[in-house]
């Protein structure tokens, strides 16, 4: 059966729709462009980025009537079920969502806001040792990565967050993290940001 002739724009849109629905992780505009390149779609490859952008915008509008929406997160675009339907999803997926310990969340917060940061620096702020298990969980989940060693005695490893972290928490970039409460708000005039950020 010969492929029925299709408008390039509509073909691009359908291709992107299929790709986003089948991909395990969000796909970025760049990934989409490179997946569409050198295909039989009749479009100048220089124009592909704009075409992809237009298709995404059009898909976004299309799903207004659907139970899912197109969202942009750290590593790209994904379709997700609108949160008002979460109650149905919960009925289907019976497993209880995993809860994360405060130790893990606090460590993650320090890494997210203060990256690059060493384990020692995290421990200094939290006042307790960071367990190996906590670090490993963060690395395993792919939320945190090693950024290289710091030029200090002992050559400690520095850590930072990943795009998987952004994806997981539906953030487009680190800028979208909730703003840190100003330390001065808790009251001290003697406190200034330098003291806080310039540790070690």
């Amino acid at each position: 059966m010969p492929p029925r002739p299709m408008h390039a724009a509509s073909e691009i849109k359908q291709a992107i729709e299929s790709l986003l629905f089948v991909a395990e992780d969000p796909l970025s505009k760049e990934q989409l462009v490179s997946l569409l390149k050198d295909s039989e779609i009749d479009v100048d490859s220089g124009r592909l980025p704009q075409e992809v952008e237009a298709a995404l915008a059009s898909l976004h509008v299309d799903c207004a009537q659907r139970a899912y929406e197109l969202v942009e997160v750290g590593s790209g675009y994904r379709f997700q079920v609108r949160s008002e339907h979460n109650k149905w999803v919960a009925r289907l997926l019976l497993h209880r969502p995993r809860r994360y310990s405060r130790a893990l969340l606090e460590t993650l917060a320090l890494i997210a806001y203060r990256q690059p940061i060493t384990r020692g620096e995290i421990e200094q702020v939290r006042g307790v040792a960071v367990s190996t298990q906590t670090m490993r969980t963060l690395l395993d989940r792919g939320w945190v990565r090693e950024l290289g060693v710091k030029d200090l005695p002992g050559r400690p490893m520095m850590y930072g967050t990943t795009s998987t972290f952004l994806d997981y928490f539906s953030l487009r970039s680190l800028e979208e993290l909730p703003p840190l409460r100003d330390i001065a708000e808790s009251g001290s005039g003697a406190m200034n940001d330098e003291v806080v950020t310039d540790r070690d």
């Binding site: 379709f79 979460n86 130790a103 917060a109 997210a112 307790v128 490993r136 909730p178 840190l180 003291v195």
Partner: protein, 269 residues
């Protein structure tokens, strides 16, 4: 092996602890009983504990009454010791810091010296900084999260396409993966393995029955029977912690001075 011995020594709870009669749970304790559950379960270290003590009493973080806070802190350390909860060394370091601070605060300060720094300044700075990140962690926890709040919409793949070039795996990768699983299993074992006894299991069942029959939120303090004394209270507490960890009960408190309520997890959703 070591754990088995521990369990045996655990039996006479009342004989453990610095001095008989210093602690009577839940009535007489310096830290009110309804705070106990919070304390036992959730402190993330000495700074966390200190912040809790300060906030609970609505104290000014910039003008901490060191003597008072130190006494409460020590009471907590003693309590943990008496319950045979192993404390991280950081708690003891902080205890020493507080003791030193307390003694320095007792010394008259040379008022003519303007530059003299308040001996509490460093501690205050650390507390405030930690508080900022505590808050940040709470906010991160509330972000919409995959697997909990966000569910990607996916299409099943055409079956014949799943066979494309399967990835290669090495045995050591497989072993590493398994080691992780085992490690996680170990961590999810009750932290109270040593203290978990039949009586705790039994109490868990009793508590669940009671919460289920009540069908709503029960004040935390009502779960303790005055007639049971200390050991009974500890058993109830451990049972509640177990239930909480397993997600079988929910605990709510609407603020620092508010009473704590407990409910069967299934009674709400």
């Amino acid at each position: 092996m070591a754990e088995v011995e521990d369990t045996r020594k655990e039996e006479p709870v009342d004989s453990v602890g610095p001095s008989e009669g210093t602690y009577k749970l839940p009535d007489d304790l310096y830290i009110p009983p309804d705070a106990l559950i919070v304390i036992l379960e959730a402190f993330e270290g000495p700074l966390d504990l200190l912040l809790y003590l300060i906030k609970r009493r609505n104290l000014d973080i910039l003008d901490i009454p060191v003597a008072e806070v130190t006494d409460q802190y020590m009471a907590y350390i003693d309590l943990m010791t008496s319950l045979r909860v192993e404390l991280a060394g950081d708690y003891l370091v902080m205890a020493a810091t507080l003791a030193e601070l307390k003694s320095r605060m007792l010394l008259p300060r040379p008022s003519e010296d303007e530059d003299e720094e308040d001996p509490r300044a460093e501690l205050v700075r650390r507390l405030m900084e930690y508080e900022v990140f505590q808050h940040a962690a709470e906010q991160i926890d509330e972000l919409p999260r995959l697997e909990r709040d966000v569910f990607p919409a996916a299409l099943l793949r055409p079956d014949h396409l799943t066979h494309l070039e399967p990835p290669r795996v090495e045995l050591r990768e497989l072993l590493a993966a398994f080691a992780e699983v085992l490690e996680r299993v170990k961590l999810r074992k009750p932290h109270a393995v040593e203290t978990e006894s039949l009586s705790v299991r039994e109490r868990m069942t009793q508590l669940l029955d009671r919460l289920a029959s009540t069908g709503g939120y029960v004040p935390f303090s009502d779960l303790f029977s005055r007639s049971e004394h200390r050991q009974g209270a500890v058993v109830t507490l451990l049972a509640l912690l177990e239930l909480l960890r397993d997600g079988l009960v929910n605990v709510v408190q609407h603020g620092f001075h508010q009473p704590i309520y407990v409910a069967h997890a299934s009674s709400q959703s």
